[in-house]
Subunit: 213 residues, 2 copies
């Protein structure tokens, strides 16, 4: 039995992550891939992680220090990696995850100014240095992301940040792509949802063909 694959989806608010996740979920199942369900999300994906998520998104903790935010994110991730992702990959199952460590480089690093070296060190021991096999980045300008979100309900603690914060997040995501271009597939979130999904499925083809099935 071959090892499973870790596929992660990253992107700013309003970029269409939920729609793409649903499409990828259907595509992978149609190809006979055994996926971990429900699809894990970050922060979250475990009982502890979901409890941490509720704290991270709660407006009551608006003044949370960037250091506490970073530590909470990695506490949730430490659980997710050990309790869900690593056992699943070892059992040959695939994991399609709504955000992963790249999001900490983008949000807690770019957004909140936590040093990349600090995040890297946490990635090593708290997240077992686990690297995705493929990462999709849904890229969208901050203005368009804000316009798309405006029709939704109340924004959470992080969604309520100002534009400059999301500009830094976007720049940090792009810097990640520049560092590891072979791992990332950047998708233009302005394209029609079907075109975005087609591009993502094309990028998955080599992994699907590589299963030896």
């Amino acid at each position: 039995m071959s090892r499973g694959r870790l596929i992660t989806l990253e992107g700013g608010e309003g970029a269409g992550k939920s729609t793409l996740l649903a499409g990828l979920h259907a595509h992978l199942e149609a190809h006979g891939v055994a996926l971990v369900l429900p699809l894990p999300r970050e922060p979250g994906g475990t009982d502890l992680g979901e409890a941490v998520r509720a704290m991270l998104l709660d407006h009551a903790f608006r003044g949370m220090s960037p250091e506490a935010e970073l530590l909470l994110m990695f506490a949730a991730r430490a659980e997710l990696v050990r309790k869900v992702i690593v056992p699943a990959l070892a059992a040959g199952r695939w994991v399609l995850c709504d955000r992963f460590t790249d999001a900490s480089y983008a949000y807690q690093g770019g957004g909140r100014g936590q040093p990349a070296a600090r995040i890297r060190e946490l990635e090593r021991w708290a997240a077992l240095d686990l690297q995705p096999d493929l990462t999709f980045l849904l890229d969208l300008s901050v203005e368009e992301g804000r316009a798309r979100r405006s029709g939704r309900g109340d924004a959470d603690r992080i969604e309520s940040e100002e534009d400059a914060f999301f500009e830094r997040v976007r720049a940090a995501y792009r810097a990640r792509v520049a560092e590891e271009p072979q791992r990332f597939r950047v998708l233009d979130a302005r394209a029609p949802a079907a075109a975005v999904l087609d591009a993502a499925c094309a990028a998955l083809r080599p992994l699907l063909e590589d299963r030896g099935a």
Copy 2:
């Protein structure tokens, strides 16, 4: 105005921390010390920290990874240091804290096996490398601690650990004392409460006389 002082109290379960804290609180107030009230406790002491504390002590999270536990402890500590302790010390107030970073070396280090170097690194950036001016360690054998606790209500997630865990905790506390004997005052928890308090107050005298008041 002189900088305030950080006094911490450490020790295993059932060692008499609460009684000693109450006595030290009264003693310091009788000497005109402006204390942060309520006395901070770890994990806790801020809104976020108390929410994290509830998670850490909850039996629902019995299988929490040692890494997640360590990260949650420092998330709470990062908040406490920045929101409570550092501002108070700068304003000339004293902080009498029920446990601090030594407890992570003892519980997450000795008890759970997290490397001391990892804790040291978190102490540097998450806890701003803040060191107590004086630390009391209420020392008690694991057997006696267990006997004293037996009359209380239900034990929380950490109190429910086995004896070997608490032996490692005690050994790690003693190792901390050996590394920084000038900062610690070890108190024999088997002594009568009044004698323990007298010994602690004697150790506080130089700090009280040093106020220049």
